[in-house]
């Protein structure tokens, strides 16, 4: 089987001797190969927990995840991960961060060949000239460019993005969304992308499908396909009635969750 299949995944954290927090409650989902998929939800809905499970950084309490027919057990280089912050090692320059990652994947590769590929990808993300800079000397947007470059450099067929643009200002955010889309579409075959976000416009603009998650316990409440041909034009989002309907629907789903969350807390008294 191709693609990714999440089968009845639950994640429970012990918060005290007897209390526990259900971060994910029997989540099932199938994602096609080459699909751009968004996990959208308010904070605490378990979307990042799910991504960590996909990355192999934590194990589900129940259920399992199959990627191209194999069960995910631990992290691996077949999945490229970009976090909101702290993806890069601060003690390595931009270039060294990429060289280091590449060396983990291809231990026997020639250094010169590696260097050329690193320069090439840094150029593609618009960072030629900053190769020798340390992460602290780069802006937040530039750091995320390097992190994306690292994920793409490893040619992983599955990209896991955990709110990659969450810490950026609106302008850098839009620029990086374009960059990500362009690089994703250029790749042949297109990698599967799973992106965690709480920004619904970002989810609509980028994704083929969106899973809306709700908190307490974390679960998928709705799956929505985005019927919008690529290449997409950003301003169409505000003029296309079909997309506006979807946006309104997503907004009510997200806000509805806030209300029921409060009710839950009142009921808990």
């Amino acid at each position: 089987m191709n693609g990714l299949s999440i089968e009845g995944v639950s994640k429970v954290f012990a918060t005290g001797k007897k209390e526990q927090f259900v971060a994910l409650d029997r989540v099932s989902l199938t994602i096609q190969q080459g699909e751009f998929f968004a996990l959208l939800g308010p904070s605490g809905c378990g979307k990042s927990t799910l991504l960590h499970i996909l990355a192999g950084l934590s194990e589900p309490s129940q259920g399992c995840v199959l990627w191209q027919g194999h069960k995910i057990q631990g992290p691996g280089l077949d999945r490229g991960v970009v976090f909101q912050t702290y993806s890069l090692f601060p003690w390595m320059t931009a270039e060294d961060n990429l060289l280091f990652a590449l060396k983990q994947k291809e231990r026997k590769g020639a250094r010169r060949d590696h260097q050329e590929r690193v320069r090439h990808i840094l150029d593609q993300v618009g960072l030629s000239g900053s190769e020798k800079k340390y992460p602290i000397q780069l802006s937040g947007g530039q750091q995320q460019r390097v992190a994306i470059a690292r994920a793409l450099l490893l040619e992983a067929p599955l990209l896991l993005l955990d709110e990659p643009f969450g810490a950026l200002d609106a302008i850098s955010r839009a620029q990086l969304q374009e960059l990500l889309l362009r690089l994703w579409q250029e790749k042949k075959p297109k990698p599967t992308v799973i992106m965690v976000t709480h920004d619904l416009d970002e989810a609509i603009y980028l994704s083929d499908r969106i899973a809306v998650l709700a908190a307490n316990p974390g679960r998928i409440t709705e799956l929505i396909a985005i019927p919008w041909a690529r290449p997409r034009k950003r301003n169409e989002l505000l003029s296309n009635p079909e997309l506006l309907d979807i946006r309104a629907r997503l907004l009510s789903l997200l806000q509805g969750e806030d209300v029921s969350g409060q009710q839950g807390r009142v009921a808990g008294w």
Partner: protein, 243 residues
Amino acid sequence: MVGWLPLLLIGIVWYITTDVFQWLDPFLFPGPTAVLSIIGEDYPFLFTSLLSSLTLLFVSFGCAIVTAIPLGLLVGQSKRIERLIHPFTNLASPIPPIVYIPYAVALLPTFWLASSFILYIGAFWPIFLNTVNGVKQIDHRLLDSAHTLGISRKDWYAKILLPGAMPSIFSGMTIGLVLSFILLTAAEIVGGSSGLGWYVKNYSDFGDYPRVVSGILFIGLVVAGLTQIMRRTERYVLRWRER
């Protein structure tokens, strides 16, 4: 430049109270002219003493670095190992290394071995404890990021844990170096037959206070030089923290 002003002032006061007006007892308080001429005259001997001291210092400090850092990395990354050895480190690390001196002298065949053992202990604990802490302080998101790259065991220690803990390791090494130097001079005063501590002790036995003061000043210069080298190295190694 302004930073040198207090030093200059103290020098002037020293000069006035001794060489110029001789307000202080010239036997116990030699003036700068006497001290400087002694340093000028005795510097070959001061330097052989320094060489003897530094050999002892660098051997012990070096041994402390190459054992404390790997052990610290190993302990810092595993809660289980840390819990296991915690009672021991808790008990052993606060013991002032000086109290080992008589026992070390009784156990080990030569003065040199005994004092290098004491210096080693003195440098080991600050480096070890700071390495453990440094590893524990590495942001878990960085460790997650490292895990996703499927890092080899060797690179995990050398390229992630070591540089990640390096800021803390440097504080440990600086404390360890100063402490080692204190222990070094103490050991030389107690039982040495060479070195800077011995130089000061030896001439004070003869009541040669110009040489005693020269020795003390010289030791001050050496420690200042060593810490300066340490600071430069730190700034270079941790250059990734500077914007």
